[in-house]
């Protein structure tokens, strides 16, 4: 196994941290340059692409109108609660489905079915059931992430090497200890990765839900700005969502490193 992953690791090793940061910076500089070129240079119609200055102005206006922070916080609140609810049920269920054939048999058909329903198609139903408040947004996020997450967790737990379990059995571990002392710790880093990927989808579903029907939140702000052709405000909204996404990703990765120092990743 070690030999197999050697070539990939070597490619990573050749890139030093300094070089990596240089490339990250270069990508940002390039994007900024192209943006400036298109807006200040070619003077593209600002309805399609507002200049960086216009977007900065939009941020300022939104702040002064007192919507920037509240809308961001309300969106964040919906994502976090909806996603947390999904995770807290999906993780134990995924573990059970990976380890117990009967549980898998009972839940797998329904989950397999719902998983392929587009979340956007379920929004009308959610509005009918729960209205257009916070709860409906959380329900959309829950439905959008829960079923995916269950299957991802099931998959992750399923990759715990059988030899680890056998070793635990011969060391005297029994039923519940196998779960708490072996399966759970062995799959935690993978589950963290599952959560990191899923929370990205949670943001997508939230914005969709807020676009369809809402009276607050970043998606709502984007939709309203579109009606008034305030493209600079749309970009402000997109930048906030993108930054929050990047921040969440970074947070998950950092937590993984702190909590699982023992974990061997490719390329580290």
């Amino acid at each position: 196994m070690n030999q197999n992953k050697q070539p990939i690791q070597n490619n990573y090793m050749k890139t030093t941290n300094h070089e990596l940061h240089a490339w990250q910076l270069a990508s940002l500089v390039l994007i900024a340059f192209v943006w400036c070129l298109l807006t200040f240079g070619i003077k593209i119609n600002p309805v399609f692409l507002p200049s960086p200055l216009a977007v900065a102005g939009a941020f300022k206006e939104l702040w002064q109108e007192g919507v920037l922070l509240p809308y961001t916080l309300i969106s964040l609140y919906r994502v976090l609660i909806g996603f947390f609810a999904a995770a807290i049920i999906a993780i134990p269920l995924g573990i059970m489905m990976a380890t117990n054939k009967k549980t898998e048999g009972f839940f797998a058909p329904f989950i397999g079915f719902v998983r392929y329903l587009p979340v956007s198609a379920l929004i009308p139903l959610m509005i009918l059931y729960f209205g257009i408040g916070d709860f409906e947004k959380m329900a959309v996020i829950f439905v959008g992430t829960f079923f995916q997450l269950v299957l991802m967790v099931q998959d992750t737990v399923g990759t715990v090497p059988g030899d680890l379990l056998k070793a635990a059995y011969t060391l005297g571990a029994d039923g519940s200890a196998i779960y708490t002392k072996v399966l759970l710790p062995a799959s935690m880093p993978g589950i963290m990765d599952n959560l990191r990927i899923c929370i990205g989808w949670a943001w997508t579903y939230l914005v969709i839900a807020e676009l369809v029907a809402a009276n607050s939140g970043l998606g709502f702000m984007i939709l309203r700005s579109q009606r008034f052709l305030q493209t600079d405000r749309i970009f402000a909204g997109l930048i906030i969502i993108g930054c929050l996404g990047m921040l969440t990703d970074y947070l998950f990765k950092t937590l993984s490193k702190v909590f699982f120092p023992w974990y061997e990743r490719l390329g580290q």
């Binding site: 680890l164 056998k166 060391l171 005297g172 571990a173 200890a177 002392k181 699982f260 023992w262 974990y263």
Partner: protein
């Protein structure tokens, strides 16, 4: 005492039945170091898994001190060929795993951990995670972990099979030293004939599939042993005998395919 009585094992492979073990009858006395050698695919690992309680015989029974083996338990410690250390536990916590499962007082857990880390030469590495260890070190920890549980029998499934030749020699001598201190009952599996003779009181040679015990030889070489023994005339004549037994089987197996 570990014993097998009329053990058969058949696996279903598609709609075919594959016989892995055929009528295994074997006794391993307390404090005996027994080694099973056999050509690859002869079912020797399956036999060990039955002793561990991880597999069930299709017919026949395995016993530990007269009690039938039906499930895995802490009285039969096992060291695997694959690296099976818990990667989220440090070296010392890996070794402490079994004693903690038994809910021993923490003072005794620490005492056992220290004793077996010392015996296996790991005291400097107690706080490391397995990912920082070489293959040989990992297997040292695996041996310490199995011993710290104070099992009645130590089952070893080609534990040095994945190591390079030099490390393997070091590990064999280490195992001999450790065994001299406690004289555990050991059932050890290997396809390396030198390893078998060097370690064993008794060598059981297995036939090709379906595996049965072809011959049992006792190894009268004096203990304590070390690697210089492998060049002695007694060693070489034992080796000749076993090599011939195994070659017969390997050749016959090759012709069958």
């Amino acid at each position: 005492m570990l014993s097998f009585e009329g053990v058969y094992k058949t696996f279903a492979s598609g709609d075919k039945q594959v016989e892995a073990l055929e009528n295994i009858n074997m006794k391993i006395e307390a404090s005996e170091f027994a080694v099973i050698v056999g050509p690859s695919g002869c079912g020797k690992s399956t036999l060990l898994q039955i002793a561990a309680g991880l597999e069930h015989p299709t017919a026949g029974k395995a016993f530990l001190n007269g009690v039938e083996i039906t499930s895995p338990g802490a009285d039969r410690g096992m060291v695997f060929q694959a690296y099976t250390l818990f990667p989220w536990l440090t070296v010392e916590d890996n070794v402490a795993f079994g004693p903690r499962q038994k809910k021993l007082p923490e003072i005794e857990v620490q005492e056992r951990v220290n004793r077996y880390l010392e015996v296996t030469g790991l005291l400097k590495f107690t706080k490391l995670y397995p990912k920082a260890l070489s293959g040989g070190m990992k297997q040292r920890v695996a041996i310490a972990r199995a011993l710290a549980n104070d099992p009645q029998v130590l089952l070893m499934d080609e534990p040095f099979g994945a190591l390079d030749a030099q490390t393997r020699v070091v590990m064999q001598e280490l195992l001999l030293q450790v065994w001299e201190t406690n004289h555990k009952t050991v059932l050890f599996i290997t396809h390396d004939i030198d390893e078998a003779i060097l370690l064993a009181d008794t060598v059981h040679v297995m036939s090709r599939q379906p595996g049965s015990i072809k011959k049992t030889l006792s190894i009268p070489l004096e203990r304590p042993r070390d690697h210089s023994l492998t060049l002695s005339p007694e060693f070489i004549s034992l080796k000749k005998e076993i090599v011939e037994l195994i070659w017969e089987e390997s050749k016959a197996a090759a012709q069958e395919f």
